[in-house]
Symmetry: C2
């Protein structure tokens, strides 16, 4: 990707050659629920559903169908917000090296490869918006992208430190020393593969949605276990935590217009054309109005990290703010509540031709846990959830619920499955949550 | 500052109007040592100087001349590296509100103002390079810029939360609520004032050096105490720590081409013109050569945070790397070891017209300590030093030395002064350090 590519794609330029004729439209992405839910039925909400007829039913894998690592999963059918549940999930075994998929239809979850070189596991949550298509495509595609990207670097990971040349040959005899001096580790290659896989998947989604005339986007939260490490890759506002006996470790950070303010303002500073004279990149405590003109008011610009200053209000400051609102209400260009994710290639500000995609990143942040070093215990649990959970429960509250539940159910191999259902049943009483 | 400003200043464009005739050249910035060193003499190095005739003498304020908060200061005369000591320091009382300086010549340190509104203290270290002029200008100027910037926001800081309108009037009755919702605090305005002061000082240095035909730059590490808070602002590779009985708290992070790789590569991605076809923005484990062509080698680009991947080497990858070398040897464009600081407006890559300034930031990172909340004790000490100290001692080693020295000298009001001299005497045995 070059600066030229970005400019050609997103910035207005001189009229180019005539656009290619539209491709024949592909059929829409078929709607589905995660594969591992096949055979399951929706269970009713919690005991007080009778008093709350609006409580939504909870769906989880059929009893006896274990997910990798006996992971639990549950979802609330989102019938009240939209016709389809916009969220998706996927999990499976990850076998890196040889190409070719297993016969997916016969299996409860994805087997990415039948021959092994490196094996691991993969769990993913996709929180969709603007329609279910992007999250479905992500659930169908991201693991394949990841497998391809991991296979592309697997030979390099074979040595410690990783090979400078993928072929294994040393152009310079001290190449291993250079790699070691730079502190490059095998896990850096896995992180790189995750970053590239997210980008590749985003491109696939863009092409597929364009071809089928659909729209939409999704966040992505992905856990991968490989070679004794747990990788948590996050693009969006979902969240993962590790609950241990004495602590709750955050495994991700949320990416929203608020948390990524500086990156977004910086892009608007470099390419003001992206705002099409409709938005101001400056942040004020509230949207300014005519009476503020000429006054000195608090503001923040791209280069200001933890600080504020005052500026004299000019007419251009009265435009709609690039990032507006507070907390859950914060929106990018008044439209989108997340700043990273997959899809949204066609998303435009309502009634304008202004695109949001240039401000969105598909690259995830990846956090690595060394599972051996952490000496994980039986009762240590990773909780991954979309904002529906985190809007009503804090990390500490979730930790307390997990710690209160698990020790009393040590004998049940499906205890994480039961726990996930319990969480969702609690959430089913908050129909306002996504 | 706008994107247009950046483009006009640093990017090649169509021929503009004829340049303004050169101003009459001002006289060079006169060389001096910090004002509070007046009357002091260089003391010999440590006891074993006799065995090490190359050990450099140490200079510190004359006994009895206390610095604010009984701070200690010591420097090594840098006679072996250059004719002048390129480093500088300043400290003084900070009185915010009214204009006008005290009669500086009569005082041991700077009194910034004789009438008080808010009072605090200021300590600063400037590590110069390419000549002493930039550090001298910074020591002469930065405190005035800071006072001006603080005075510009002092009225806004008078209320809690700070006033949305500097005038105090409320255009919208719920303005205080908006400010509170955004979590804006008085300390954000002080941080903003520090950031603006660094930028203003950088502009002053640029103008003065151009007028006097001098060159050079410096890092800046500034501590400010104000309203129960300690602000540590850092632009460069100096470092501050807080040594407490049971812990050592870092109060700054270093800004070097290595630690700011992503920001620097990102700028080169957006404005490839800045590399003038001489450099590659990509990072490889070592500089590539002809034999690497066509091979797949480890690399890192601007969007890759903690990760690496492989790419097929093309001819353009053989160019000199934008950031090259490792650790202390890492250089920006083969020239500069720091990525933030003041000055360097005229600095160019040797024998080329390629400027480094667009890649350098004058904005500091500011860390805030709440001194009340920390319940600071008598033996808690802030240590500020340039890389000369940190190249030979770790945070923990410095902490151990401080803890070993202070408790045995509780009665001596000048014990920090003695401690600073002891540190420098130790360093005087490492003449290789700057």
């Amino acid at each position: 990707m070059s600066a030229g590519w970005f400019r050609r794609r997103f910035l207005p330029g001189p009229p180019g050659p005539a656009p290619r004729p539209p491709k024949p439209r592909a059929s829409p992405v078929p709607y589905r629920r995660p594969r591992f839910l096949r055979g399951s039925a929706s269970s009713p909400g919690p005991a007080d559903t009778a008093r709350r007829p609006d409580a939504r039913p909870v769906r989880s894998p059929a009893r006896g169908r274990a997910l990798p690592w006996n992971a639990g999963y549950a979802e609330i059918i989102n019938a009240e917000k939209s016709e389809f549940n916009e969220d998706q999930a996927a999990c499976g075994k990850l076998c890196i090296r040889k190409c070719g998929f297993g016969a997916e239809d016969d299996q409860e979850w994805l087997t990415l490869n039948s021959e092994e070189f490196l094996t691991g596991h993969y769990w993913a949550l996709f929180d969709g918006h603007g329609g279910p298509a992007a999250a479905i495509l992500a659930a169908n595609t991201l693991h394949s992208c990841l497998r391809r990207q991991l296979e592309a670097v697997a030979d390099g990971m074979a040595a410690t430190p990783p090979l400078m040349h993928l072929s294994g040959c040393c152009v310079c005899p001290s190449d291993p020393q250079f790699v070691e001096e730079k502190g490059i580790r095998a896990e850096d290659l896995v992180i790189g593969a995750l970053e590239s896989a997210f980008q590749e998947c985003d491109e696939v989604i863009g092409r597929e949605l364009e071809a089928s005339g659909q729209v939409g986007g999704c966040t992505a939260l992905v856990a991968v276990s490989l070679q004794g490490k747990l990788y948590m890759a996050n693009a969006g506002d979902s969240r993962a935590i590790l609950v241990r006996r004495d602590e709750v470790l955050p495994l991700s950070t949320e990416f929203t217009p608020e948390t990524e303010r500086q990156r977004i303002q910086q892009l608007a500073f470099v390419y003001p054309e992206l705002l099409a004279d409709e938005f101001t990149r400056l942040e004020f405590p509230r949207r300014l109005k005519g009476d503020d003109l000429g006054q000195k008011v608090l503001f923040r610009d791209h280069h200001m990290s933890g600080c504020r200053s005052y500026k004299c209000v000019e007419k251009s400051d009265l435009k709609y703010p690039l990032i507006h609102g507070q907390g859950r209400q914060a929106r990018l260009m008044g439209t989108l509540a997340v700043s990273r994710g997959l899809g949204d290639h066609q998303l435009r500000v309502l009634d304008t031709s202004i695109r949001l995609k240039p401000f969105l990143l598909s690259v995830p942040q990846v956090i690595v846990l060394d599972m051996d070093q952490l000496q994980l215990q039986d009762d240590d649990v990773v909780v991954m959830a979309t904002d529906g959970l985190w809007d009503v429960l804090s990390n500490e509250q979730v930790g307390k619920l997990v710690r209160g539940f698990l020790p009393g159910n040590r004998e049940d191999p499906h205890r994480c499955a039961v726990l996930a259902v319990e969480f969702s049943r609690g959430l089913a009483l908050h129909p306002c949550c996504s």
